[in-house]
Structures are given as structure tokens and as C-alpha cells.
């Protein structure tokens, strides 16, 4: 018994020891490899001709080129935002190549370069099998051009449009023109403006009136090619009464330079429509010395335009050196609902400043925010959120819960919630806690013969349960594994 107690206390001491925790967290990045495919792309640099060139490569109509140029000109006038709790070395926007694509443009999945498919295999997404088995349609973005789109036919039968953004601009210009930039205007913020100017590709989903999308839609983004920022643009429109669940997952190969990533995602939900958007983000976070890693600046916003509509964001963020991301919902329609469920894990020198905005405009609108932050190593993890009840938000309701878990002494966990209430019938509630894994919890598990590492993993899993529950099943499994891998050897 004594021996067990001794072991217990000594390992507890180890848990508190920075050096050991830091070392223990030195997990390897399993998705770190580079696919050798010949790339064509634009040389580094950004000016109007770059924007025109991207537009020309993609055979875009005149209005689209102008739209991009407007965004570019606006971007030039904008200062880089510095309000987030992030330490970022200045980014040289002229040193980045804004377009890269596989040399041979594939027409169908069968024509896809085997090396590319192999990449997906390594990532554990065998396109055909996975799609068939899981009933998931995958629109995989390999750098900047859609490689292949599966299940298009089945979706088409249901009337669902699911394709790459460049294709949508050519095939469905009216829809794109109507909705693109209507949720995130081109001049919304610095990174959204940059994205609007140079976005390369992304996904387009249109669910017509009354249609329930027959399967969960999924995109795997994968950043490849050195020095290529990837700027995807996603637009999802759900018409009256339509339902869709969309999954986004990311991994990127290991590299030493920081890669810039500035995505924009726009969701539009009309009357009684529901959109569920789930993300697992596992990009290269940099090594244990903070070298390399993805810079991830994302603008995600949903617009509950119709009454009784619902938009739900779920995210599991374990990757990227820098995460700057605030998936938001504008609750315009009466009785519309917005949700945000998030798990953000940072370690080593990772920095995350993430959260959400819920803008209540309509009557009896509801929003719920559940955010779980886990920081380890020397990382910094911030929740930044805004709940705004405008004058017309009669009877609106918000509930927010933010919890932070600290592992190690050199990390930081921060909470910056903003609440602005202008309607006396609205109710806003916010709660936040910060703590470490308690010695009592560890002792309880250890006393029952559970090894330390499993105990930490169990406790973290329990801490995140509320969010994982919201993920589609395949993602929930992946997310849980991701956290386990991330915390591998965190103790003992």
C-alpha cells in the first residue's frame, strides 16, 4: 500500500514537473509527409495581376473577376488586426504563392493521380471505400483544385448541388452571385478580404426547398506544396425547410515554414432550414520548439435568415500554430437557433484565440455556447466571444459555458466574453471556470488501478463529452483519438 502511495505521489509530482510534461507532450505528427506531385502555380507575390491570373486560370466570368478585384482593393486599405491574444511574426504577403494546382487536371476520380489517392490512403480516407461504406460524399480539396467529387449523382437525384466552388461559379452563377459575400462581405475583415481576392477553391452546397440531404457531406482539405497559402471559400445555402449536415476535416504535411491559411465559410439558412457544420482541424501545429506550423485565420459565419431556422457549429481544434477563428451566427429570423460547441487543445507553442459571436436580432431567438479549452506545454488558449441582444430581440435567450483545463505551469488559459444587451426581455447567462486536473480525480482513478495516462485521457474525454456528443459519429471517434494522441505521454 505504501509503495502504491509512494508511486502515486511521485508520479503526481512528475505531472507537475514542467520539463517532464513538456517532454511527455512531444508527440509526433502522424500526418506529416509530403506528396511528390508536380505542381504548377503562380510565383510568390500579390497584386492585381495575381488576382486576375487566378480568376483567368479558373475561367471565371467577368463579374467574379471584378468582385475579387474589389475585395483586393479594399484589402489594401485595411490594417492587420492586432486585438487577438496572439504573438505573430509579421507575415510577408508578397512572399506567398497564391495559387498551386496539380498539373494534370483530373476529370473524374478514376483519372486522379495515384500518388494523390495514396496521400488520402495515408490519411485514412480511402475515397471510394470510405464514401461507400460510410455513406459520405467526399469533395476532397487537394491544394487548390477539387480532385474528385463522389456521390454527385445520388445527390443530384435529391436535387442537392454539391461541387467545388470554381465549378459552381461556372455552372450555377446565379445562385453563387446571389449568396456569395452576403454573409461575410468582401470587406468584413482583413483576412476575409484577402480570401475574397485570392480564394482558390472550396465547396459549394445548395439544398433546395424542403429537401433533407440524404447523406452527410464531407470535405477533406489538405494543404500541400511549400509556400502555398490555401484560401478556400465555402458556401452552403439551405432553402426553406432544407436540412444538411456538413463535415470538414483537415490535416497537413509537416513543414518548417509557416503556412498561411485564410478561409471563409458562409452559411445561409432560410425559413425552417437547418445547417450543421462540424470541423475537426488537425493541421501541423509546429514542432516542440514552436518552429513551423500553420497560421489559420478563418472567418466562419452563418446567417439564420428565415424564421425558425437553425445553424449549429461544432469544432474540434487540435492543430495549427495559430488559430484565429470565430464561427458566428446572425440570428435574424424569429425563433431561430444558433449553437456553438468547441474543443480547442493547444500545446508546445501553439496559440489559439477562438470563440463565437451570437448576434440576436429576431424575436425569441436562442443560442447556446459550450466551449472547452485545454492548454498544455507553453501554449496559449483563449476563448473570445460576443453575445449581442439587439433592441428587437424580444424574449431572446443565451446560455454560455466556457471551461478551461490547464496541464502544466507554463501555459495560459484565457476567457474574454463580451455581453451586450439592449432588450429588457432578453436573458444572457455566462459561466466560466478554469482549473487543472485535480489530484483527487487522479487519485480516484489511480486507486482503481487505472494507469495515469489512461486516467488523464479519461478525464479529458469526460471534460469534452458535451461537445463530442454533438459530432457525427465518425468524427466523434476521430476527435477522441486526436485528443488521445495529442496527450500521449502527457503524464508519468
Amino acid at each position: 500500500m505504501n509503495e502504491i502511495m509512494n508511486k502515486q505521489s511521485s508520479s503526481a509530482a512528475t505531472l507537475r514537473d514542467n520539463a517532464d510534461v513538456a517532454e511527455a507532450l512531444g508527440r509526433t505528427y502522424s500526418a506529416g509527409f509530403i506528396t511528390k506531385i508536380e505542381m504548377t502555380g503562380l510565383p510568390p507575390g500579390l497584386d492585381e495581376s495575381t488576382v486576375r491570373a487566378i480568376s483567368a486560370i479558373k475561367h471565371e466570368p467577368e463579374w467574379m473577376t471584378e468582385w475579387r478585384l474589389d475585395a483586393y482593393r479594399h484589402w489594401l486599405t485595411m490594417p492587420k488586426p492586432d486585438w487577438a491574444k496572439l504573438n505573430i511574426d509579421p507575415i510577408d504577403y508578397q512572399a506567398i504563392s497564391y495559387y498551386a494546382a496539380p498539373k494534370v487536371a483530373p476529370k473524374s476520380l478514376d483519372e486522379v493521380d495515384p500518388a494523390l489517392l495514396e496521400t488520402y490512403e495515408k490519411l485514412g480516407i480511402p475515397l471510394h471505400e470510405r464514401a461507400a461504406l460510410a455513406g459520405v460524399a467526399v469533395d476532397a480539396v487537394f491544394d487548390s483544385v477539387s480532385v474528385g467529387t463522389t456521390f454527385r449523382k445520388q445527390l443530384a437525384e435529391a436535387g442537392v448541388l454539391f461541387c467545388s466552388m470554381s465549378e459552381a461559379i461556372r455552372e450555377y452563377p446565379d445562385i453563387v452571385r446571389k449568396y456569395l459575400g452576403s454573409v461575410v462581405p468582401t470587406g468584413d475583415n482583413f483576412f476575409a478580404a484577402l480570401n475574397s481576392a485570392v480564394f482558390s477553391d472550396g465547396s459549394f452546397v445548395f439544398i433546395p426547398k424542403g429537401v433533407r440531404c440524404p447523406m452527410e457531406l464531407s470535405t477533406y482539405f489538405r494543404i500541400n506544396a511549400q509556400n502555398t497559402g490555401q484560401f478556400e471559400r465555402t458556401l452552403i445555402v439551405a432553402e426553406e425547410g432544407a436540412h444538411v449536415s456538413y463535415l470538414e476535416g483537415c490535416t497537413a504535411p509537416k513543414r518548417d515554414e509557416n503556412q498561411l491559411h485564410a478561409a471563409v465559410v458562409e452559411l445561409v439558412a432560410l425559413e425552417k432550414a437547418q445547417i450543421k457544420y462540424s470541423t475537426v482541424q488537425n493541421w501541423y501545429p509546429g514542432d516542440e520548439n514552436g518552429v513551423g506550423g500553420i497560421y489559420n485565420f478563418v472567418t466562419k459565419r452563418g446567417d439564420c435568415r428565415g424564421d425558425d431556422s437553425k445553424i449549429s457549429w461544432t469544432q474540434v481544434e487540435t492543430g495549427s500554430a495559430i488559430t484565429w477563428k470565430y464561427p458566428s451566427v446572425v440570428l435574424r429570423g424569429d425563433r431561430s437557433v444558433g449553437e456553438f460547441y468547441s474543443v480547442a487543445l493547444t500545446h508546445h507553442f501553439q496559440q489559439a484565440d477562438t470563440g463565437t459571436k451570437m448576434i440576436h436580432l429576431g424575436k425569441y431567438t436562442k443560442s447556446k455556447i459550450v466551449s472547452k479549452g485545454i492548454s498544455a506545454g507553453r501554449s496559449s488558449n483563449s476563448y473570445r466571444g460576443l453575445v449581442k441582444m439587439e433592441k428587437g430581440a424580444e424574449g431572446a435567450r443565451n446560455y454560455t459555458q466556457c471551461d478551461s483545463l490547464l496541464i502544466g505551469k507554463k501555459c495560459g488559459a484565457h476567457t474574454f466574453p463580451y455581453m451586450e444587451v439592449k432588450n429588457p426581455t432578453a436573458i444572457v447567462e455566462h459561466e466560466a471556470t478554469t482549473s487543472k486536473i485535480s489530484d483527487d480525480q487522479m487519485f480516484y482513478c489511480r486507486a482503481r488501478g487505472i494507469p495515469e495516462e489512461d486516467a488523464v485521457s479519461m478525464i479529458v474525454d469526460g471534460f469534452c463529452k458535451q461537445v463530442f456528443r454533438e459530432l457525427p459519429m465518425e468524427f466523434a471517434v476521430e476527435a477522441k483519438k486526436l485528443l488521445e494522441v495529442s496527450l500521449e505521454g502527457a503524464v508519468g
Binding site: K409, A413, F416, P417, M419, V428, H430, A432
Partner: protein, 432 residues
Amino acid sequence: MNQPASLPLVASLLDAPLPASGLGWLDAARRENRAAFAAGGLPDTRVEAWKYTALRGLAQRSFGSGDAAAQTRAVDASTLALPGVAGVRLVFVNGAFRADLSSLDELPAGLSLQPLSQALLGDAEPLRFALSRHYRDVGDAFAQINAASASDGVVLRVAAHTKIELPVQLVFVGAEAELAWHARNVIELGAGAELCLVEQHASSGQPTQLATLVSDIDVREGAQLHHVVLQDAGIGANLFRRNSLRLHARAQATLHVLELGGALVRHDLRAELIGDDAQLHTRGVFMPHGRQHIDTQLAIRHQALNTTSTSHWRGVANDRARGVFRGAIVVAPGADGSDANLSNKNLLLSPSAEIDTKPELEIYADEVQAAHGATVGQLDERSLFYLRSRGIPLAEARALLTAAFCRAVLDDLPNKALREHLSGLLIAQLPA
């Protein structure tokens, strides 16, 4: 951006000659701070700490500085009396010490108390640390102009291991004239000392004024401070208060704040728990109505081992008023064993009122318990139903529950007579 000095307010404040002290270091500090104010001007709403408090309207006004007639302004002495507070009293009218209204005759042993204007004539060296400070942060405008222009205020010291039985009352009165005044307090409690300090803000007449008050409060090892603030200034008062509180090892400070009056009121509390086992407990209620704007900013820094802070603040906004609250808690690296708790609950009583609240946590240590909560909403429907089912009319039930909501922050105020008086003021401020 405009040149700061082109704003009427900034220009008018810079217009006032600096008070001469005859002390080289103090004159230098005044010049430095004035230069900083001249260069930086007023913060706009892009400065995070001023996001919800716009100074645009105020910036267009101009105020003459200081009051030559301060010694002769009529102040009704009966308004200064507070139940449960009898004994030593210092009164400042438009920022200047008024001996005729004060009572300093029977200072208890161990208490040294004098107006700053007098303290500077004697040995000013102990004040040097506090008064030679340069305020450089963006958003420090009012501290800068205060440091440049304040020539009076309170210098209070309690000797080590001395318990001052009766509360010490500090009264700041804004009287009649439309002008700007500045006051500076330097307060220190020696090791093991105990003091109850009652700070009162009032107006005589309803003058439109700009007032700044900067207080430095040091609570030494094991000392205990009870600080009660009753801010009941007139409806024309623009009052900017900044309290810097330093708590040494085992020191305890309890703060009760009532924010009732004023037009534009800002209270910055910056507390640093720099000694192990220090404790800070803040309680407060802000009740803006009419077109009032009341902004409370807490910044509590845990910098030592096993420190504790609890903060419970309530807000009630009515009419076209706006209540702003920020409660930031920072747990510095190495401040293990910190226990921080903050709650801010608000009631919004009118469709044109607004509440903006922002609790913040910044945690850099892991052996920590930190939690905050904030709500904005209405009275609990079930409680209302309960009272109505027992025959209490709706309006009265509302009044009762609202009063109870506000009074909660006074529950642990030990001075019973004062507590009752303050709750009476709270209830009087509620809509009938």
C-alpha cells in the same frame, strides 16, 4: 484622428497652469504627465478599456480648472452626515480641502491624516513614490491629467498594529460652479493595522463638472481595510475615479461600492495581490437611470501564492441609461493556489437601457481555481409568482425583488447602521 489638443475638453484642461509645489521631482512628474495627456488626448472607443464608454460628447465641453472660491462655497453640512459614521471627517469641495466642514480634532492614536496640500509643505519624501508616477498607457488620460493637476486630496496613514475603531469619512463635494477639479489620495495601512474608510461623493446644487480622483492604497502585511464608497454625485457630474490597491502578505481588503449618481461615471479598480495569502473581496451595485452612464472596471491581479479574490457586482439599468462592467482577473505565472471568483448579475428594466458586461479570466498558473459568471435578464418569474400568489400586487412584488437583488451586495457589510442607510438609498433609487 484629430490632434488631441483640438478637442475643447483637452484644450481646456491643458489650459490650467500646473500647481507649483517647490519640489523638483513633483513638478517634473506633473510636467511629464501633462505632456503625455497633451500628446495622447482622450481614448476613443477603439481602445479596448473604453470600448463601451464614449467620450465624444464630453470631449466637446470645456471646463475651467480649479475653484478659487472653493473655500466659500455653501455646502449643507447635514448632507454629509452618515449613520454609523461619526468621528474623523475630511471634506473636499471642488477638490480643495475645507477645514470648516471637516473634523480632524480628535485623531485616534496611530492615525495620521492630513490634506495633501498640507502634507506637501512638510516632509513630502514618503509621498514621492506615489506622486512621481508617470501614466503612459493608452486610456490613462484621466490619471495623467489628475497627476498633472491635482494639488489636494487625502494623505492617510495608520501605524502598524493599530486598530482604528471609528470609521474615517472622506467626502468629495462638487459644488455649484461649472468647472473641473482633481483630487489625489495616498493611503497606507501599516502591518497589522485595521481601518474602515468611508468615501462619499456628493454634490451641492447640480453643477456640470468634470472630476478626477486617483487613490493609491497600500495594505501592508496582515492589515485589514474596509472601504465603503457611496457615489451619489449630482446629475451633472462627470466623475472618473481610479483606485490602485496593493495587498501585501496576509492583508485583507473588503470593498463595498454603491454607484448611484453622476452623468458619466467611471470607476477603475486595479488591485494587485502581491503578498502570499492576501485576500480581496469586492461588492458593488451600479444603478444608472435617466440618461446616466456608469462604467465599472475591475482588474484584479493575483501575483502571490494562495491569494483569494471574490467579486460580486449587481447592475440595474433603467430608462435610457447604460451600465458597463468589466471584471478582469489575471493569475500571474507562479501564483499557485489562487482562488478567484467573480459574478456580475444585471437587471434591465427598460427597452432603451443597455448593459454591457465582460468578465475576463487570464490564467498563467495551473494550481488555480478560477470562475466567473455574468447574467443579464429580468426578475425570476417564479419568485414573482410566489409573491403574487400570496396577495402581493405585481408592482410591489417587482419592487421587493429588485430591492433584494441590489441589497445582496451589502449583506456582509458589518456596520449595521450604515448598511441600513445604504439599502435605504438603493431602494429610493428604484422605480416606484
